[in-house]
Amino acid sequence: MTLELIDKEDTFEVVRDQIGAILATESANQRSLATAAGKDPELWKLRVYLERANPWEAFRDMVDTSPIVNVWFDAASYPMGHGNTVERQKSEARYNIDVYAYGQSADDGATGHIPGDEAAARSLARAIRLARNILMAAENTYLQLPRGTVWRRWPQSISTFQPQLGEQPVENIIAGRITLEVQFSEFSPQVEGDEIELISIDVNRARDGMLVAEADYEFPL
């Protein structure tokens, strides 16, 4: 029986939360940098959520049309060649970073108009670009976690989904997905061994009995 209460978060949870936190804080930072550079900070805005499953209704009233990002844990595999059977196993986890972008047709102020479908696609590309650059920035090589937690993070794929076929909705909404693979170690409760023997070693010089070295070894190690 495991005597220890399992009261911790596994690394796959920590990493998921950290991906969301990095995207949120870096997006806010990018907005500040954009303002300082005299650019429209709204173009750097991401609304970041974790593991959300309710339908998105944020675009319906068109109050805030900035892209929505939903980070969710998808799957993990544990290659048997890495780690050990007792304490630590290497995990290769896959996180989906889903991006939803909105675009609205509008008068261009001249003789034409801005098509909403193209605007949605461009907004999506901008949000994916921002998220990928944030996650792959040098500062986030190890996702800002204590060194040794994350071995590697790597964008496995980026895909965009075609707009819904059939009835054209009022809103032009398009989604995309960054699949991010993160490799890390997962740990499990361990047995604390009892000390059963102390081995003491003294090394004396035969000529005069002088103590040259001594060492104590607890067993088990």
Binding site: P55, W56, H113, I114, E118, E167, V170, E171, I173, A175
Partner: protein, 128 residues
């Protein structure tokens, strides 16, 4: 015009444009050249679920109007259509909802029924 088809077109007008005892509703249609016409027809603006293929739905709207082709042409307009070319103005449709809030849309696609003289326009949001 005579015959059942002409009668059906006439009945269509009676159904679409009856704003006293029917569902007829004032609708403004503007073509890319800026010519507008005040018409009476059916308008819909209801909720719709959008499936962006992520496995998670987005709540949206579905808006459409149905107007009589004959009244479009009577007002100097042709059959509306979706305009993809960003260098041109789109066909624009506007109408109030039942609570008096004004809404403006771009015609995303149109489905004309030339047998009956009816065109249904599927709409998307538009900022004029």
């Amino acid at each position: 015009m005579t015959g059942l088809r002409a009668l059906a077109e006439s009945d269509l007008g009676g159904i679409l444009e009856d704003s006293l005892t029917g569902f007829g509703w004032p609708i403004t249609v503007t073509n890319p050249a800026g010519t507008s016409a005040e018409l009476t027809g059916f308008s819909d603006d209801i909720s719709q679920v959008i499936d962006p293929d992520t496995g998670q739905a987005v709540s949206g709207r579905l808006a459409s109007v149905a107007v009589r082709i004959g009244h479009l042409t009577d007002n100097g307009l042709s059959i509306p259509r979706g305009v993809a070319d960003s260098t041109s103005k789109p066909w624009v449709v506007s109408f109030d909802d039942v609570n008096g809030n004004a809404h403006t849309f771009k015609v995303a696609e149109s489905n004309p029924d030339r047998a009956l003289g009816l065109v249904v326009c599927i709409l998307e949001a538009y900022t004029p």
